[in-house]
């Protein structure tokens, strides 16, 4: 970040450009109120109370009325940025908004740099770092869920959970430190089994937070959803059906889609990045082979797989084989039976006749992660893409896949990559603690890994200092000869 002059008064449009009945212009800084006073002759704002609304007109120097506006007055430090803030709600015309901003700049304001209001809020102690990051996310969030998530993080739900975690770990660390520094004295020793227990609990909690990152990230950046299937199964038609537009080139010639096509759709507040892929089959030319390889690559990276097949052309065995090839543990599968208009009587049971066959799909390895049966009746979505038949149902299924399958949105979700990394490192350190204990490593080394874990958690909120540990020891234990 470049060094910005924090004594300037800054101005910017606070609402999105272009549309809207109202546009809000925000001024912040030492001179915010005098500058506003200069363009708003209706009232003397500097004599008004903070947190008040004022109706009046913005006038140009020659006395011309530019707009009739409502001004919200926030005097620092009780404002968003901690400085004096004036918000001018104008009519949402681009021309008016530009003119008002120009007028304010003429009166001494400077156009704000991107994120500068938040930066000032952070620098003035109005929010901590993770809140500031959440605001940045909030500004960038483009869907309702992302917005909710950002709001939640701002209210400190995330910080709170981490703080609770840290406190437990500090207690743990204190016990170990007590044993190390005062081992010669008559002190109680940390019970190793209890410690193991505690670390186990902590890791479970952290794992939940880590798991939430996938969803959190998905909500922020969109859930990667891949449409895959045999050539001419109607994948691109399905994508167009979902998009309601002709995005992909569609033709009856197998292999029309040679590259990967990506589109974003919003279903009930959740963004899906839908990837259309080249059909999987034994490729007939080099270019197509690359396309197939890319398809598999994309499938591996996706959270949801929409496997599309043609109910007329495809045999149950082929469906099974495809799924076996495409399925990755942890992904959610929707089996989209396309071209139902050609055979409306196709049933789930025709393609998935017996229990055994379903089991065959279960990955043999990793019995610990309890995967649901990948394909069940509930994952079966019959559609006719070309007629847009049952597309709303498919959308419903996609939404469900995110919401029901994973974490509820009311829980704490980690969305920030920095937080995720810190949690990951903290978890690694705790894993090292357990490893150390298993190898009967002495507690000075174990303490080192605990401190590391504390340090990484401290990267998210606040910081642990050794004073905390000693303070904890002195207040809870009788030590000293």
């Amino acid at each position: 970040m470049t060094q910005t002059n924090l004594s300037d008064t800054i101005v910017a449009l606070a609402t999105p450009t272009g549309v809207g009945a109202i546009g809000v212009i925000r001024l912040s800084g030492l001179e915010a109120i005098p500058i506003a006073d200069g363009v708003f002759p209706s009232k003397e704002l500097s004599k008004q109370n903070s947190h008040t609304l004022h109706v009046g007109t913005i006038r140009q120097p020659d006395g011309h009325i530019l707009d009739e506006v409502v001004i919200s007055l926030f005097k620092g430090p009780r404002s968003y940025t901690g400085e004096d803030v004036v918000e001018i709600s104008c009519h949402g015309s681009n021309y008016i908004l530009q003119e008002v901003i120009r007028l304010l700049i003429d009166h001494g304001a400077r156009l704000a740099e991107p994120g500068e209001f938040t930066l000032r809020a952070f620098l003035n102690g109005r929010m901590d770092l993770s809140q500031a990051e959440a605001v940045a996310d909030l500004i960038a969030s483009s869907s309702a869920s992302a917005h909710q998530l950002a709001m939640q993080q701002m209210r400190g739900g995330f910080s709170g959970e981490i703080q609770a975690l840290r406190q437990k770990l500090i207690d743990f660390a204190s016990l170990i430190e007590l044993e190390l520094d005062f081992g010669e004295e008559d002190v109680e020793f940390a019970n190793r089994d209890d410690l193991k227990d505690l670390v186990g609990k902590l890791r479970k909690l952290m794992q939940a937070l880590l798991d939430s990152f996938k969803l959190g990230n998905a909500i922020k950046h969109g859930v990667t959803t891949v449409i895959a299937g045999r050539p001419n199964a109607g994948k691109s038609t399905l994508l167009n059906g979902l998009l309601n537009e002709e995005r992909a080139i569609v033709s009856a010639i197998a292999g029309t889609t040679r590259d990967v096509i990506e589109e974003v759709i919003n279903i009930q507040g959740i963004q899906f990045r839908i990837v259309d892929t080249a059909g999987i089959r034994e490729a007939e030319d080099a270019i197509e082979a690359i396309g197939v390889e890319r398809t598999l690559e994309k499938v591996r990276q996706s959270s949801i797989l929409m496997y599309v097949f043609d109910v007329i052309q495809t045999q149950p065995e082929e469906v099974q084989a495809d799924l076996e090839r495409l399925y990755q543990p942890g992904m959610h599968i929707l089996v989209v039976a396309n071209k139902m208009d050609l055979n409306p009587y196709t049933k789930y049971e025709h393609f998935f006749p017996s229990e055994e066959k379903e089991r065959a799909l279960q990955p043999a390895a990793d019995p610990s992660t309890k995967q649901k049966e990948p394909v069940q009746l509930s994952n079966w979505v019959p559609v006719s893409a070309i007629n847009k038949m049952n597309i709303p149902h498919l959308k419903e299924k996609l939404h469900e896949a995110v919401i029901n399958d994973k974490v509820s949105l009311d829980e704490t979700i980690v969305t920030n990559a920095r937080h995720y990394q810190a949690l990951q490192k903290a978890d690694q350190s705790l894993a090292d603690v357990l490893k150390g204990m298993a190898n009967s490593v002495t507690s000075d080394f174990i303490a080192m890994d605990i401190r590391q874990a504390l340090h990484h958690l401290g990267e998210i909120t606040g910081e642990i200092s050794t004073d905390d540990l000693l303070g904890n020891i002195f207040s809870n234990f009788c030590i000293g000869k």
């Binding site: 970040m1 470049t2 060094q3 924090l6 901690g82 930066l119 000032r120 952070f122 620098l123 003035n124 102690g125 901590d128 770092l129 430190e177 044993e179 190390l180 520094d181 005062f182 081992g183 010669e184 004295e185 008559d186 190898n439 009967s440 490593v441 002495t442 507690s443 000075d444 080394f445 303490a447 080192m448 401190r451 590391q452 401290g458 606040g462 910081e463 200092s465 050794t466 004073d467 540990l469 000693l470 002195f474 009788c478 030590i479 000293g480 000869k481």
Partner: protein
């Protein structure tokens, strides 16, 4: 009457004596001024050096050319390596010394130094001209000139002793307090404060029944503090352990209404980790016993130090309570315990070289800086002595990083955070304690002292070089030498380690949990023969560095990461007061302390991580 001195050291306790050594070994002409030449190097409290974290400090002082390690080694009556059941970072040497011999040895070593002169008198003030110290004023009205002055006043500045409801001026039992200095410094603009500490009663060892106590002998093979080949005792004396009980607590409690602690006569802050016995039973009322260590004060004296029974209750209460302790039924008391209040100066008034911000070439070391402990005092003294010399010659200060030594941790903590209670070192204060071990202080620090030009370090440097080579040789040997199942499975079976199926390299066996070099040496004649040429200390360091290589490397990586923050310099021109984004406390502290680096700023109490982010943002990072 006096030549002009480079450095005057005021006070000849652990800080003062080491300060004199530090400056003198750098080549300065030193005058050591003390109120009483018979109490040079006096152990005012516990007749012991070292202990957890403190033992590491003594070894560091020794590695830097100080004398505390040598004096301790040559006067010890008992040696124990504490914490051996824990990892090597925690191993801490502790020695019980003969109090008389200790002081005598210190005095003789100082007398033997050609650069050190002595003067017995009370210093009443410092000579200051143009913001620079020029010497000291004495009680007899003399003025002695010098380029630098180091104040190491211990508990003597306006010392006030409390026993029950009695209180009287004094710097130590039987010695008068020092006056004048605090008042002058306050006039110069310094802020003074009061600290409190205490000491337990001394009793007549001939009246104790040791059968009723647990014996605590010294280590079978005593080790040493100094990295030089000091002479160790051929025999040792035992300490004993006993416990208080509810009866003792009841008696002590009966004196609470006459306790200066509880009646509010003592306002100053005492150390939480070294509480008086009355404090312990008051704060931890649920504990029905507290451990006491019964420690002899020397080879020939019958005086006994009752460690853990520090008290300022009335002497009759102390006496009655003592007699209810197992083994103390017939105890005669030599003198009661007491509490002492004394002046100190918040160490945030010092730079990282222990020089005061206000007066150039004036240095503080020891309890005057709010610390407690001989070891803490000694290391500050040494650093102040060295830095006084460097300051006179306008050379860069000698600063140890937190990753280089406990001394670095201590001084960094003091000058950046200050202290609210007497500051004692703990291993948990050091974030890199795996690196700051007692076995490698010489490897860490001796080369630094040599670079400084400290005198008399040649022999020590040789030892360091030998140790470093030994480490490489020993690892090489273990890497290339194989051991067969026949040779070792018997041993592995005995310690519950899985037997070998085929021959492996020796190092692989050493790296197993529960396996150590000494046992392997006993098991394998070829290893024993190879190690024959190496000192025990070299072998130990080699073993530790091999066995814990992963952890050591991890910690070193953290150091490297942290040092990047240490490299971000904070210029003198930063106007912290104008950075509204800082918390008001951080604004104030940063303006006052003017840290040199972001790393230092991050450790100032009241400066939060978000303040650091603000600084980084401000500096365009």
């Amino acid at each position: 009457m006096f030549p002009k001195y480079d450095v005057i050291v005021v006070g000849a306790g652990h800080a003062g004596s080491e300060a004199a050594v530090g400056a003198a070994n750098m080549g300065s002409k030193v005058l050591l001024v003390t109120m009483n030449m018979n109490t040079i190097g006096q152990m005012s409290c516990n007749p012991a050096m070292g202990g957890v974290a403190k033992g590491q400090i003594v070894r560091e002082v020794d590695a830097l050319g100080g004398y505390s390690g040598i004096v301790t080694d040559e006067t010890m009556i008992q040696f124990r390596m504490l914490n051996l059941s824990k990892g090597p970072a925690m191993w801490s040497p502790r020695a019980q010394s003969d109090r008389w011999l200790f002081a005598q040895k210190w005095r003789l070593m100082l007398e033997a130094h050609p650069n050190i002169d002595f003067w017995q008198e009370m210093v009443t003030g410092v000579v200051v001209k143009d913001g620079r110290v020029k010497g000291v004023y004495t009680g007899m009205g003399m003025q002695i000139e010098s380029e630098a002055v180091i104040l190491t006043s211990g508990t003597f500045l306006n010392g006030l002793i409390h026993i029950g409801e009695k209180q009287f001026g004094g710097g130590r039992a039987g010695e008068r307090e020092a006056t004048g200095v605090t008042e002058q410094l306050v006039q110069l603009g310094f802020e003074s404060g009061r600290m409190k500490t205490g000491t337990p009663p001394r009793v007549d060892g001939r009246t104790l029944n040791y059968d009723r106590m647990e014996i605590q002998p010294g280590d079978e093979i005593p080790s040493r503090f100094s990295y030089t080949p000091t002479e160790l005792p051929s025999k040792q004396m035992a300490c004993h352990v006993t416990y208080t009980n509810t009866k003792v607590h009841e008696i002590l409690r009966s004196g609470f209404d006459r306790s200066p602690m509880f009646t509010g006569r003592i306002q100053a802050k005492g150390p939480r980790y070294c509480p008086s016995i009355e404090d312990k039973i008051d704060r931890f009322a649920d504990k029905d016993r507290h451990q006491l260590f019964v420690e002899p004060e020397g080879w020939d004296t019958c005086e006994i130090y009752v460690n853990g029974f520090s008290s300022s209750l009335p002497e009759d209460v102390q006496y009655k309570a003592l007699q209810c302790i197992p083994g103390f039924e017939d105890a005669k008391m030599f003198r009661p315990g007491y509490a002492i209040e004394y002046d100190f100066f918040q160490p945030t008034q010092l730079g990282i070289n222990l020089e005061t911000h206000l007066v150039k070439n004036l240095f503080f070391a020891g309890q005057i800086n709010g610390t407690t402990g001989y070891e803490e005092a000694a290391c500050q003294g040494l650093m102040a002595g060295v830095n006084a010399h460097l300051a006179i010659h306008e050379m860069d200060p000698f600063v140890l990083k937190r990753s280089e030594g406990y001394i670095g941790v201590l001084i960094d903590d003091l000058v950046n955070k200050g202290t609210k209670e007497p500051y004692r070192m703990f291993t948990s204060r050091a974030e890199y304690r795996i690196l700051l071990r007692q076995d490698n202080a010489d490897i860490r620090l001796t080369p630094l002292a040599v670079n400084l030009g400290m005198q008399g370090m040649d022999k020590r440097m040789e030892v360091v070089e030998t140790k470093k080579c030994a480490r490489i040789d020993i690892e090489k040997f273990l890497n290339k030498t194989s051991v067969t199942p026949d040779q070792i499975n018997g041993f592995l079976g005995r310690i519950g380690s899985a037997p070998l199926k085929q021959q492996v390299k020796l190092k692989g066996v050493l790296l197993r949990p529960h396996v150590n070099m000494v046992d392997l040496q006993a098991e394998l004649p070829m290893l024993d023969a190879f190690l024959n040429g190496y000192t025990a200390e070299s072998i130990q360091t080699a073993e530790i560095e091999m066995k814990y290589e992963g952890y050591i490397r991890k910690e070193q990586e953290m150091v490297n990461k942290m040092n990047r923050l240490e490299e971000v310099k904070l210029g003198d021109s930063i106007q912290y007061a104008e950075l509204k984004s800082l918390s008001s406390e951080a604004r104030e502290k940063l303006s006052q302390l003017r840290p040199r680096t972001i790393g230092q700023a991050s450790r100032i109490s009241g400066v939060s991580p978000s303040d650091i982010s603000v600084l980084l943002v401000h500096m365009g990072r």
